[in-house]
């Protein structure tokens, strides 16, 4: 574990990504202090260009874009992490069952997984949110519903490979129960892959969330980056700043998450990543 941490620390890009994420977490923590009150509050005149008071300007209704970005960070992280965790739990269950029990179970489960990987994910996510009506929880459900197949295939692949490994067979030969083999031996040995892929999935989830919010499927009562862009789109010609800064926030966040994900991948799976 210490070795992995050292490898991570040597990776300059990964450290940069970690710094971005830490900065973001700090922003989330201090946003109520810096921008007290509701981010939906009308703070000044509409469509003010960035200046000393409003660092990133104001939007069509006179809301502070900077405050919106600060509060939107919470939404993005919440949805990104929430959706990823749900996808990992569900995907690992499906993939684990398929990869451990093989046979008919595997064929059926993997066909279903492939099916969900084939159908256009974003369109399905749109449908789910539209049907459940836009809210943070329905966004999490929708994004998780379209991202679990990747995890399922990964875990299934790892389980199939591990099942062929002799140390797992040795354990079965000792008379160990399925639960012991799965939780003591197989899951710990594919945890690093799941962490690495899962962290990249957070980035994708944040992008998907932004896309949904941009299409008007974000929670209307919770500030989010996609929501600000979607609202600022109509005045793009006169007020470029409304769309620009939340987009930069998305880009930096996803970049940070991906860099950390890549760094974790290299640190935890040095054999695979050393190329």
């Amino acid at each position: 574990m210490r070795e992995a941490l050292q490898r991570f620390a040597r990776n300059r890009l990964a450290v940069f990504g970690a710094c971005v994420l830490i900065g973001l977490l700090v922003l989330v923590a201090i946003s109520p202090l810096v921008f007290p009150g509701d981010p939906f509050r009308l703070a000044g005149k509409p469509l003010q260009a960035p200046d000393r008071v409003f660092l990133f300007g104001t939007d069509t209704l006179g809301r502070d874009v900077a405050a919106g970005i600060a509060y939107g960070a919470r939404t993005s992280l919440l949805i990104g992490v929430g959706a990823t965790l749900s996808a990992i739990v569900f995907g690992a269950m499906v993939g684990g069952f398929a990869g451990y029990y093989r046979g008919g179970v595997e064929i059926v489960l993997m066909r279903v997984t492939e099916f969900f990987q084939t159908i256009p994910a974003f369109v399905l996510a749109i449908l789910i949110v539209a049907i459940l009506s836009p809210s943070v929880s329905s966004e999490i459900i929708a994004i998780a519903a379209v991202s679990w197949p990747g995890i399922a295939r990964l875990v299934r692949g790892e389980f199939v490979a591990l099942g062929g490994r002799e140390f797992v067979q040795a354990c079965a030969g000792l008379g160990a129960s399925d639960a012991r083999i799965i939780f003591r031996h197989m899951l710990p040995n594919c945890a690093s892959s799941i962490i690495a892929v899962g962290s990249l999935l957070i980035g994708t989830s944040i992008l998907t969330e932004a896309g949904l919010a941009f299409l008007g499927l974000g929670d209307p009562n919770v500030m989010s980056w996609g929501l600000i862009i979607s609202a600022g789109r109509a005045v793009l010609r006169s007020a470029w700043w409304i769309c620009t800064f939340p987009g930069i926030a998305i880009l930096l966040t996803v970049l940070g998450v991906n860099l950390v994900g890549d760094g974790l991948n290299e640190a935890l799976n040095p054999k695979l990543a050393r190329r």
Binding site: R165, E166, F167, V168, Q169, A170, C171, A172, G173, L174, G175, A176, S177, R180, H185, P188, N189
Partner: protein, 543 residues
Amino acid sequence: MNDMPMNDVVLELEKLNIALPPGADRAHAATDIDLVLRAGEVTCLIGESGSGKSLVARSILGLLPGPHVRVSSGRILFEGQDLARATPAQMRKVRGARISMIFQEPMTALNPLHTIGRQIGEVLRIHTKLGAAARRARVIELLESVHLPEPAQLLRSFPHQLSGGQRQRAMIAMALALRPRLLIADEPTTALDVTTQAQILKLIRDLQHQHGTAVLFITHDFGVVADIADTVAVLQKGTLVEQGRTAQVLGHPAHPYTQALIAAVPKLMPPPVRAPNTAPFVVQARDVRKTYGARGFFGGRVTHALDGVSIELRRGETLGLVGESGSGKSTLARAITRLMTVDSGEILLSGRDIARMTRLQLRPYRKRVQMVFQDPYGSLDPRQRVVDIIAEGPIIHGTQPELARDEARALLALVGLDPSAANRFAHEFSGGQRQRIGIARALALRPEVLVADEPVSALDVSVQAQVLALLADVKARLHLSMLFVTHDLRVALQVCDRIAVMQRGRVVEVAPTAEIYGAPKHPYTKALFAALPGANWQETVYA
């Protein structure tokens, strides 16, 4: 082979040093190598894993991996040119035309997406001005010269459609396409079965005689050396400790390392005839069948891994299960340990059929049969401490964890490991030490039967001898019965009381070891013995 005239020097290594990247276990992969290769001679470079033998071979063609592994000093003289200092363009003129190379694993050494014909033809396309038709004709000629059937059809085949032996023949055809002066063969038969190995060795020998090629043959197997080499060079951790004519080095090794290596090679002689074992049977497999098949929409091929196999193991006996890859020997071992279920047949453990038991019924029987695996790197959980690996079995079967760990520490001493090993992880140990841990894990449950599946195949010959000695020792001390699966007849002769020979899912012959050595009955058994490398050498030495 002794009294061949000294031939022309083809290649000369002078004080060759190969540097390893910083942080490797030593600074140089090879140190001050002096070696002379002559026309019409086969020179074997022999060494254990990590001795640097493959890197020496690759350095000649400038094929060392990456920028960190490089020739740091010394000369590689070939036809008046120093290859260590040749430009890439000069090097390309030599590669494939004047010096060519074949590799250990022909499956990965061939491009999976190109036909055999195209890959062999590529050599001609690079180095000659032959037209397409002429190239094709020449490739067919080459395929014939390595005795491949139906060359015209093979031309259009892809590597995956050939057998391992055929692929290596194709590689040889490719290497000899332009009659090079030197052929470098990097363990070319290690991945092959023993009968195929014998054929490939003969082919290399024949072609080399025909063309007067010099051959640098890399191997770890003294049997192969005895069969093919004119001269031998022994490499120990990057240093040449001994070289000379084959008969001299094998018959009267001068260096202690060579002596130790040769002493570790299992003797090709039967154990003394013992009184027949009449103890009761512990394991009986009766008419066991197992098929693997791709059952798909459109049908598929079915392989009979076990095609009606019956074997019996008596208490206190060691039964060898010998066969080539795909013979079903490992499948049988896994069926007897119930790591896999069989399609039909009975597997009796002290008279009780365990073949169809449920998991729950099986549990008390599990500990009576334990397995030792082949791969010392894959058979131990990388995330567990050694003590937990060994104690896991007893804990599963209800022993108090603390007690189980104490017993595990005691077992470490039994298998010859230091007690301090207990709290370390598997990756901190060498292959032989890991195999000892694997044996300790199997013994922790106090089994009656030990099933050892190729337990020494992945180990160097010196380590191999130690692990075999340990197995024999614990077997005698703990009164175990052992099923010993191996592809290596030599090892089987040394270890087993009786030997069962398997071929294509069937047992073709079972007999006491002395009998099967002295008078093999089945043609396949005879073929196996005939193919054994170095048979003549040891008979002359130990007769």
